[in-house]
Amino acid sequence: MAVSDLAALVVALPIFGSLVAFLAALVRSKSGWPVAVAATAAQLAVTVTLAVRAFGEGTITYVVGGFEAPYGIELVVDGLTGTMLVLIAAVSLGVLAYARRAGPRSNPFYAVFMLLVAGLTGMSVTADLFNMYVFLEITGLSAYALVASGDRGRSAVAALKYLLVGTVGASLFLLGVGYAYIDTGTLNMADLAVKLAANGYTATLTQTAFALIVVGLFIKVAVFPLHTWQPDAYAGAPDTVSGLISALVSTVAAYALLRVVFTVFGTAFLDANPFAHALLVGGAIISILLGSLLAVSQSEVKRMLAYSSVSQFGLIVAAISIGNVTALTGAAVHLVGHAIMKGGLFLTAGLVATETGARSVDEYEGLVKRSPVGAGVFGVLAVAMVGVPPTIGFAGKWYIAVGAAEAGSWTLLAVIVGSTLLTLAYFARLVERMFFREPTADLEPAVERADGALPDGGDLGGSDPGSASLGMYAAVVAAAVLAVALGFAVFGYGDVLQSTIEALLS
């Protein structure tokens, strides 16, 4: 099998896994988890192989069905894609380790879980704009279903809101793709880039296509003020699901934004259209500032973390608007870093709720005595998120800030550097409550169980409800360790990524 075939396998494998997880329920209930673990582990192996090849030997291209581009669909794996692929597989595996005890446990859940992985992977590898829309919808639909898998009414309402807003986003994206197609008659990204340039960047169709696609993706990324689905979805979803989607869904949408802005439209388009640049800069600044302010005012921990994401993705959009090698390397680093930190934080919030029942900021008082591991990991991840060196949170911010300085964007530089204090504002009050207050009220440890909603749910191994499993601890501790350790690996990563980014910008 040629290496390029792996690019197709990497999409097919999770779809196949999803199918098997679904069918396995016919044989035996609760068999979804092992299937999902096996498929994801295989996925991780394949993606690592692909990433290593992509970094070592350059871009890998696969032509689907033998229809050559620009007519057929191409799958392309470069350094950036490889990064996302490995991230998706690794985070999914970590979340699965967590989900073993935390649930939900039904086979349909794992079938949808694998479908989400397939959608995210597809969005990353595809080099065709319409194909990207298809995977965007697969991702979206499976994410709505996962959010709705909680057994509370709140999950259902959150999923409905997510569905409505998310569909608007996807529709805008599709509309933009349509305009670009009318303009050029092609959907292949590389071919689009050539033809859009030939048409001239100030053509109204081109400008409209850009605006629609970017705003559509802004909704998926949850850029302020298009973020409203996100806090509800993250807070309403089961803990396992919030961990997964907070780490991956917006991340891959931001990757798609980066891909579309630079591969399809290119820096020359941004230079020719001040409004396009202003759209990105404005979205970035408003998200960073207002996301943080909203986070400070939240009383529920998961909602606070959700608003924190709004702010952090503002940083990514800022990096895209700066658009030089350093800033985009920073965007890649921060996408990975944020996924690990935020996914870890959501899983930790779930772990804490399992052990102590605490879910609101006030209930976190004195947490260190009731859940030492939870409080410790939360503390480390919060510090990383604030951007204290040498964590990966600092590294990403440093790259983006240096990029801003290189480009002479002083306003953005001030906002990026100042965002440290805003991030501190919402994490400090939580850290203070966890470590420097006595617990006030006794809370009932409340395991979030799928039993009520899913007839084939139930307890595994008969453990008592208030205890977290080894897998849950392992997942959150791994996130904390990675958040610190990866900070030291960033420079080497930036080095190997450089050629990819340079190709992207040329």
Binding site: P390, Y399, F436
Partner: protein
């Protein structure tokens, strides 16, 4: 001057950070836990001291850990200035460890494990600040120092302590943001932030306005921990921390990391010639002089003994900054004047450290034996406990006054 590649600077930084793990792990056995603290303190002092002969010869121990982020290498250099600070911090940590043990046990304080772990982490960060070879590594340890000392400030877990902790975080992280901004500007202007004796060459040829902005940001950022007015108000509030913390961290390690940062910025980033040329040395000297006088006047009016000492610290730190700034302001063509001002300023780093630590130890000894006092009630305490009063008047090894001393 030759560079000696060695892991010694790294080991000196890490030894107490590594000790955090066994300290936390032996939380059930206080004697073992404190044993780790003492062991780490002795090792640290030994490691730092072992680099002194080389420094006196003019050689520098260097640990190179490769590139960290663009433009920045993760390198530790134990040069003379750094060793001065590291030696002060690690010597006094050993002394303070014994004092802490007596103090914490004497007062039967809660969360002692957290206390000793955070203390070890703080000292690691302080020595990291000392051995940093460029602004980013300095920033790294500067921020870690904030994180590691926060648990010590908020230790009491009272509303007052938490408020002080919040203020501390807001001020010092705010300063950290200014340092980060200034560092980014220096990277932008010069392409490097590596400390160079006499200043980074690239800065001298850059846009003077941006260079001034970078200087202002860096000095403001480090000025927070150096407690330059009007950025000082976290320090008196932080006195709610246990006395050994006030002694070692808020009179020596933390505040001097700020002063040390200012010194690095003036001497090794901009260089005193450039500072004089930009005309910023005079401004800094004026701020320092103002702080020096005002803080002393305020100290006169403080009833709480530790707050009085804190304002004295604010004032004394400005002596150091003043010396460095005058050195910078007067650099052009004034011969020895600049040199003496610098030496005087830097000499005051260890001098003030020893004096103020002893004063805090005395204050703490009275607190642990008697009820916490204001300075107005001290004569009364003196009559209640004459021997201790007498002892606290002279700087004896203060741990003797803790519970290990005869009669307690």
């Amino acid at each position: 001057m030759t560079d000696i590649t060695s892991l010694r600077p790294l080991a000196a930084v890490l030894v107490s950070a590594v000790a955090v793990v066994p300290i936390l792990a032996s939380y059930r056995r206080p004697n073992l836990r404190e044993g780790w603290t003492v062991l780490a303190a002795v090792c640290k002092l030994g490691l730092v001291a072992s680099m002194v002969p080389a420094a006196l010869r003019g050689d520098v121990y260097v640990t190179k850990l490769g590139p960290f982020v663009p433009y920045i290498d993760l390198t530790l250099r134990a040069d003379a200035l750094g060793l001065l600070f590291a030696l002060v911090a690690s010597t006094l940590w050993l002394v303070t460890s014994f004092y802490s043990i007596g103090y914490m046990r004497g007062l039967d304080e809660h969360s002692q494990t957290r206390y000793f772990a955070a203390f070890a982490g703080s000292v690691s960060s302080a020595v990291g600040v000392a051995f940093a070879s460029n602004l980013v590594v300095l920033y790294l340890f500067y921020e870690l120092l904030t994180v590691a000392t926060y648990p010590l400030v908020a230790h009491d877990e009272t509303d007052e302590a938490r408020a002080a902790g919040r203020k501390y975080l807001a001020y010092t992280f705010g300063g950290g943001v200014a340092v980060l901004g200034g560092t980014l500007l220096v990277v932008h202007l010069a392409g490097t932030t590596a400390f160079t004796a006499g200043g980074i060459a690239g800065l001298a040829n850059s846009d003077p306005t941006l260079a001034r902005v970078a200087f202002a940001l860096l000095v403001t950022g480090f000025g927070v921990k150096a407690a330059l007015m009007p950025l000082h108000s976290w320090l008196p509030d932080a006195m709610v921390a246990p006395t050994p913390v006030s002694g070692l961290l808020h009179a020596v390690a933390v505040v001097k990391s700020g002063v040390f940062g200012v010194a690095r910025v003036l001497l090794d980033v901009f260089g005193i010639d450039l500072v004089a040329e930009l005309g910023v040395g005079g401004v800094l000297a004026a701020v320092a002089a103002f702080t020096l006088l005002t803080a002393s006047v305020i100290a006169l009016r403080q009833d709480n003994l530790k707050r009085r000492l804190a304002f004295s610290t604010v004032s004394q730190l400005s002596y150091i900054v003043l010396g460095i700034a005058v050195g910078g302001a007067a650099a052009l063509g004034t011969g020895d004047a600049a040199k003496w001002a610098l030496i005087g300023g830097l000499l005051h780093i260890p001098a003030h450290a020893f004096m103020k630590l002893t004063l805090f130890f005395c204050a703490g000894a009275s607190t642990s034996r008697l009820t916490p006092t204001t300075s107005r009630t001290w004569p009364a305490s003196a009559s209640a406990c004459p021997s201790r009063w007498a002892r606290s008047q002279s700087p004896q090894p203060a741990w003797r006054a803790s519970r290990w001393s005869p009669g307690s």
